[in-house]
């Protein structure tokens, strides 16, 4: 919400045609404030560790999709796959990473690493 200004800035770019309502954006910003209390570095560290545990081909797919601006369609074309199939793979990988980060942070919290 500090971020709303930034959000508005992003909106003006017209990259995403559809937007949430202001009411929801306000609620999301509140949720973001809440989550933002987590340590960003801890999450990034956990993410890096979780990415390292991925299979090589999953890591490569992340690199291709997240590291270039060509997008999923281009990656799919390069590998002879359908865009939907690539989307599905990304979905699986993201959820695995999300779960891995959650477990990592929970473990650290139990050990008292996170206050």
């Amino acid at each position: 919400v500090a971020r709303l200004e930034v959000c508005n800035f992003l909106r003006s770019r017209g990259r995403q045609r559809l937007y949430f309502s202001d009411d929801l954006n306000l609620l999301l910003a509140e949720a973001q404030e809440e989550v933002a209390r987590d340590e960003l570095d801890e999450r990034r560290d956990a993410l890096a560790a979780c990415v390292a545990k991925l299979r090589q081909r999953d890591r490569q797919l992340l690199d291709e999709c997240y590291g270039h601006e060509g997008g999923v369609t281009e990656v799919a074309g390069r590998h002879g796959r359908s865009p939907q199939s690539v989307h599905n793979s990304l979905r699986r990988i993201r959820r695995a990473l999300f779960e891995c980060i959650r477990r990592t942070l929970d473990r650290r919290e139990r050990r008292g690493v996170i206050a």
């Binding site: 995403q16 309502s21 999301l28 993201r94 980060i101």
Partner: protein, 524 residues
């Protein structure tokens, strides 16, 4: 804490589709409804979006690092056999492992913001040419960019940023960070240098990025690990101000070292020390305040001691009368009945009229004082009430909502009976000094309808929304803005019911009253 328990798979699918840019309008609507309804879902959404953002940063940081290492270590094709980056290039290793994290702190904010699907929505095409990104836009506030120069993500050397107004923060590959204040034009020259063509910037240069260089039309400023500001006048003359540390300012062979709190001017005659002047430089983008809603909701399901009492002495939850009204009504208001079992408050109207100030001593104008919800004068607010099965008033009988300082300074709206029996018009009207003005009438409601009325001040402008839950329609009225309440810090809002100019009193049922003030607090 990340929580994922209880998030249904179909909602997770919607969120993934959102990130992938695959949702159509209907899908967005479904996602919005799900998120609006469930705080845990919103937390999941935010955390999941953050993962998406972090993945971009993680992958891109690794790629930038790998490219930088290649550019240092591969002239003879040795990189494949090179030892670990940290072993060969300890300083570079430190850089590469520290700046992305700092970059992430700001960029996460930028990228978190619900529109991050660029990577999956790009059209198919040829593989992009190799890119050497030297700087990243990491923050922007109220930015208006000139023409098509709006930047996005990583930027290559040679990019010229032209910001007409607002503030843009740019992180260079070296770690130097620049706040550019519009109107300004900045050419990115490398990961550790830029040319200010016009306007102003401030730069913060951490130790490892020492040597950060800003060229101007008349000279050059080289940083030696510090924070400084630089501005370019219309004639190309350049002003430099050092906030901390040390810089070298030069024009041709003329070179002057500046230290903390020193200023200098560079033009075609050379570099001249000037009286210190720190004014006019913006050194950081301060986030705008967080807007926090403070809401009071009355469902009338329990008495609230210490508030305005009904005829049986039960606290209604409403705390104040509009000053200048109801003076002749006793402490236990015989016109009010709280029914906690049914969750409703009944209000029997009295013969009063704010227009021309008729009999306001007996007038029922009940509500709350906005200051109790954090209102200090500038905030937006809303008051709403649900009124089922509206009764038939005669004459100019009316009920609805008000905001004001006292009985003769209000903006009020609601429904007012029409000449046709059993029918109402919706209205909104200014009353500054006791007489109605700028009245706006629209729409039609009928006796027996269930209404929800909402009087809002948004961006300082008042409007009334009438949702007719029986007829299924919705009307919003606005009137000419009159500024008589704009500077008031002590406002009252609430509801009223009046059988104005009519003998026949009727009873309104009120199911719910909600008052919200959107207050600003400093961003965390």
């Amino acid at each position: 804490m990340t929580t994922t328990g209880g998030i249904p798979d179909d909602l997770k699918d919607l969120i993934d589709d959102y990130l992938a840019g695959l949702l159509d309008e209907a899908g967005m609507g479904r996602l919005e409804q799900r998120l609006l309804a469930d705080a845990e879902a919103r937390r999941y959404f935010v955390a999941y979006c953050r993962l998406h953002t972090d993945l971009h940063l993680e992958v891109r940081a690794r790629q930038v690092g790998a490219r930088a290492l290649r550019s240092l270590g591969e002239p003879n094709g040795e990189a494949a056999a090179a030892p670990t980056p940290g072993a060969r290039y300890p300083r570079l290793r430190r850089l590469l492992t520290s700046w992305p994290i700092k970059l992430a702190a700001a960029a996460a904010v930028l990228l978190m913001c619900f529109g991050v699907a660029w990577m999956v929505t790009s059209p198919a095409g040829l593989p992009p040419p190799p890119r050497r990104e030297v700087a990243w836009l990491v923050n922007a506030q109220n930015c208006q960019w000139e023409g098509d120069t709006e930047p996005w993500g990583g930027m290559q050397a040679g990019t010229v940023l032209r910001v007409e107004r607002g503030l843009a923060e740019i992180q260079f590959g070296s770690g130097a960070r620049v706040v550019l204040e519009g109107p300004a034009a900045l050419e990115l020259r490398s990961g550790n240098g830029a040319r200010l063509l016009r306007g102003k910037l401030t730069a913060r240069v951490p130790g490892p990025a020492s040597g950060f260089e800003v060229l101007s039309p008349q000279g050059k400023v080289v940083d030696l690990g510090t924070e400084f500001g630089i501005s370019v006048d219309d004639d190309g003359g350049t002003n430099v101000r050092v906030f901390a540390g040390k810089v070298k300012a030069s024009a041709g062979d003329d070179l002057v070292s500046l230290t903390e709190n020193q200023s200098a001017h560079i033009d075609n005659t050379g570099v001249t020390l000037r009286p210190d002047d720190a004014s006019g430089f913006i050194r950081a983008i301060v986030p705008p305040p967080v807007i926090v809603p403070h809401a009071l909701t009355l469902d009338f399901r329990r008495p609230r001691p210490g508030t305005l009492e009904d005829k049986g002495g039960r606290g209604t939850g409403l705390t104040h009368r509009l000053p200048g009204t109801g003076d002749r009504i006793g402490p236990r208001d015989g016109n009010l009945v709280l029914d906690p079992d049914a969750g409703r408050l009944s209000l029997t109207t009295t013969d009063s009229d704010i227009n021309r100030q008729v009999n306001l001593g007996a007038g029922e104008y009940l509500g709350v004082r906005l200051a109790d919800l954090g209102f200090t004068g500038a905030e937006d607010f809303a008051v709403s009430a649900a009124l089922p099965n509206i009764p038939a008033l005669r004459g100019v009988g009316q009920f609805g909502l008000y905001a004001g300082t006292r009985g003769d300074r209000t903006i009020r709206g609601g429904v007012i009976s029409k000449a046709e029996p059993g029918q109402y018009s919706q209205f909104l009207v200014n009353n500054n000094g006791g007489r109605d003005s700028d009245a706006h009438f629209v729409g039609l409601s009928s006796v027996g309808d269930d209404l929800r009325l909402t009087l809002r001040r948004t961006g300082g402008k008042y409007s009334l929304a009438v949702d007719n839950e029986t007829a299924g329609g919705s009307t919003t009225l606005a009137i000419r803005h009159s500024d008589f309440l704009d500077d008031e810090r002590d406002l009252y809002v609430g509801l009223f019911g009046a059988n104005s100019r009519g003998e026949e009193r009727k009873t309104l049922v009120i199911k719910e009253v909600q008052v919200t003030v959107w207050t600003a607090s400093p961003a965390r």
